[in-house]
């Protein structure tokens, strides 16, 4: 076990930021902490890294209690923070060299590691640029390079893709999986459920500093009653037809808004074929059809009654 967090409590005055939070992270995992903004993800990481004091609980990293003086443990940890933390006047290469140098003293080895980090994050050609000359995506990649250049065994990544263009996001997520393949254990926080679904082997959903649920994405989705979701572009449908749909035993919920008819089914039901038959039978014309499996947002919605984000972005299959 690489990390053990037991009954962690952190308060900011009256606000309970972490509420008896407990979890373990095994070697080789990509462990995702998923939750809306303010759910306690960053606070949990900062407590684990001994940057923040906490009110109660136990934290062990690499089998030892974590404290600000745990230099031997810190040496094996890499941190990619939510905010870009680099020197504005140093070049890309110098920034990576500076932060790598806090961990690696040998100049030759460091030179090699810095070059590897540049290549790994796709910053070749930008080595002599200062941060303000970089785009948002490249800046994020620099932030990552500074955190991982020393080849840590355990990497904390706190929302590393915030405000990043799709190309850089893809590159970053690919890089995280590659780091994991190379043996690093990764703690990944995000409020983008697609990212967490895509890369994490185990996920903990947080809300108000509390664990809502945890497990693999399949296990989490299995916890809710919702099955597939089908959306039809329909220009006209009568109340009677809507009622008929609602009365189908497999259907959990029907809603119709702005020409989009959304039909949610119960878990285990595959009703797309049945619905198509219904449209034919009712001579109901339709345009586009989307069918998607439940997302982590649905898990969060069912468990908390709230959306994970203001606007969920489902990954659907267009048919």
């Amino acid at each position: 076990m690489i990390i053990r967090v037991k009954e962690l409590v952190k308060r900011y005055g009256d606000l309970q930021a972490l509420d008896n939070l407990s979890f373990n992270v095994q070697k080789g995992e990509i462990f995702g902490l998923l939750g809306p903004n303010g759910s306690g993800k960053t606070t949990a990481i900062n407590c684990i890294l001994s940057l923040l004091k906490y009110d109660k609980g136990e934290i062990e990293v690499f089998g030892k209690p974590m404290s600000p003086d745990s230099y031997s443990s810190k040496r094996k940890i890499g941190v990619v923070m939510q905010e870009v933390a680099v020197f504005e006047v140093l070049t890309v290469r110098e920034n990576i060299d500076y932060f790598c140098g806090l961990y690696v003293q040998d100049a030759e080895r460091r030179k090699h590691l810095v070059q590897e980090a540049i290549e790994f994050t796709g910053l070749e050609g930008f080595e002599n640029f200062v941060p303000k000359k970089l785009s948002g995506g490249l800046l994020r990649r620099l932030n990552i390079a500074c955190g991982i250049a020393h080849k840590p065994e355990l990497i904390f990544m706190d929302e590393p893709t915030v405000a990043v263009d799709p190309q850089s996001r893809h590159k970053i997520l690919e890089g995280i999986c590659e780091l994991n393949r190379q043996g690093a254990t990764i703690i990944y926080t995000s409020h983008y459920m697609e990212e967490v679904e895509q890369i994490c082997s185990r996920i903990m959903i947080l809300d108000h500093g509390k664990e809502i649920a945890s497990g693999s994405k399949e296990a989490l989705k299995a916890m809710i009653d919702l099955g597939e979701k089908n959306s039809f572009e329909v220009y006209d449908i009568s109340d009677e037809q809507l009622m008929k749909l609602r009365n189908m035993p497999e259907v959990a919920e029907v809603s119709y808004r702005d020409t989009m008819l959304l039909i949610k089914s119960h878990k285990g039901s595959n009703i797309l074929e049945r619905l198509l038959s219904f449209f034919k039978q009712e001579s109901l014309p339709f345009g586009r059809i989307y069918s998607e499996q439940p997302t982590l947002n649905d898990v969060f919605l069912e468990m908390t009654g709230r959306e994970l984000r203001d606007k969920a972005t489902g990954q659907g299959v267009q048919t």
Partner: protein, 381 residues
């Protein structure tokens, strides 16, 4: 690791153009402006000797004391700092000289000594003061001799002693020059701009002040060691920038520090160290935004320099006289006064006293910063 932090800190400081401007070029610019604006303040040598005439009449010939006094203060005495360039002429010639502007005034000896001038000004005022002083002294001497001839000898000795005292104080080491008070206050103010470097040190090491500091705190380096390496670089750079300013003052502005240069450098080193310790203290202890803390550093250096005589040298004396405590705890004044003491006074007691207080301040701010900084994790970020 420590050397690398030192090396990278040097780089970051030298590449920060705004900082380089404020800490190096701005003081040089300000010193140059002072030089242009107050160019005439220190040029006492151009006032003297004052072209003057004395009417060589019967009264002049009869008053040997007056003749001797004039001879003593005129260029004929061979004194390079003589007050008067004196011509002995007739009344008519004197009037002509005054009319054509060759002299500032002429003296008509007699029962009632007269000074004739055709306008008022600095030179005419000096001539008036000289004459008044002579008349007062000769009148006092006359009174003493007429009432108590036995005391005449003591009176003359006392007069000699008084003269001797005034000479020592005035010439002392260097003649007081208002412009130098500006320069020393400016030098001290520039030194305390080092507070900005100190602020950056605090922001880069206190995990709750910046993401960069948080990242450094999460690394396996002892934060106080990192701070020591980094702030040493800041002191080094700041000392170098002060040396540039000193060299500029010495070579271009002709501010002569003479044989005291090593002591000037020592005072600057102490001042630089204190300013950075003060900046770290403000960054660590004072609550508020980065801009607010920056404002505090500006206020300390600017207001401190103002009280130390920058802009208005008289303010230094007024504050010293009326609110002595302010100048005793004003670090900018203490440093300016250390320079001032080296330049104007024999001996090192005043210099040493100032330096000692500056060192005590350095110890205090360093200890207080350490006390707040030793917290290794934070309540909030």
């Amino acid at each position: 690791m420590i050397e690398r932090i030192f090396f990278y800190r040097l780089k970051t400081i030298l590449r920060d153009k705004e900082m380089v401007f404020w800490t190096i070029f701005f003081p040089i610019l300000l010193a140059s402006l002072f030089r242009i604006a107050f160019a005439n303040l220190g040029q006492t040598a151009e006032i003297f000797p004052i072209p003057t005439a004395v009417v060589d009449n019967e009264a002049f010939q009869a008053d040997s004391a007056f003749r001797e006094m004039l001879a003593a203060v005129s260029v004929d005495s061979g004194d390079s700092e003589a007050l008067l360039d004196l011509s002995r002429v007739s009344r008519e010639e004197a009037e002509e000289l005054l009319l054509d502007g060759s002299i500032y005034g002429f003296i008509v000896p007699g029962v009632e000594m007269q000074l004739i001038v055709d306008e008022s000004g600095l030179h005419q005022s000096i001539l008036g003061l000289l004459l008044d002083q002579y008349l007062q002294a000769s009148s006092t001497a006359g009174t003493v001799i007429s009432r108590n001839p036995a005391a005449a000898e003591d009176f003359m000795r006392e007069l000699e002693l008084r003269t001797s005292y005034i000479r020592t104080e005035a010439i002392g080491k260097n003649s007081p020059d208002r412009l130098f008070v500006f320069y020393f206050a400016l030098l001290a103010m520039a030194c305390f701009y080092g507070g900005y470097y100190g602020l950056i040190e605090a922001f880069d090491i206190q995990g709750n002040l910046s993401p960069r500091a948080a990242r450094i705190n999460m690394s396996p380096i002892h934060k106080l060691k990192a701070l020591l390496a980094s702030s040493s670089a800041a002191v080094f750079i700041h000392l170098c920038s002060q040396m540039v300013l000193l060299a500029f003052m010495h070579v271009v502005l002709k501010v002569r520090f003479g044989a005291q240069l090593p002591l000037v450098i020592l005072a600057t080193l102490v001042g630089s160290t204190l300013s950075i310790a003060l900046g770290i203290f403000i960054g660590t202890v004072v609550r508020g935004s980065e801009n607010f803390k920056s404002g505090v550093v500006t206020a300390v250096s600017m207001i401190g320099a103002l009280f130390a005589g920058l802009m208005l040298p008289e303010l230094k004396y007024i504050v010293s006289e009326r609110f002595p405590l302010i100048n005793r705890i004003n670090p900018v004044n203490l440093l300016a006064d250390a320079y001032y003491a080296l330049y104007f006074f024999e001996g090192f007691s005043r210099y040493s006293q100032n330096l000692l207080i500056l060192l005590l301040f350095t110890v205090f701010f360093t200890a207080a910063s350490y006390f707040f900084m030793r917290r290794r994790n934070y309540d909030s970020l």
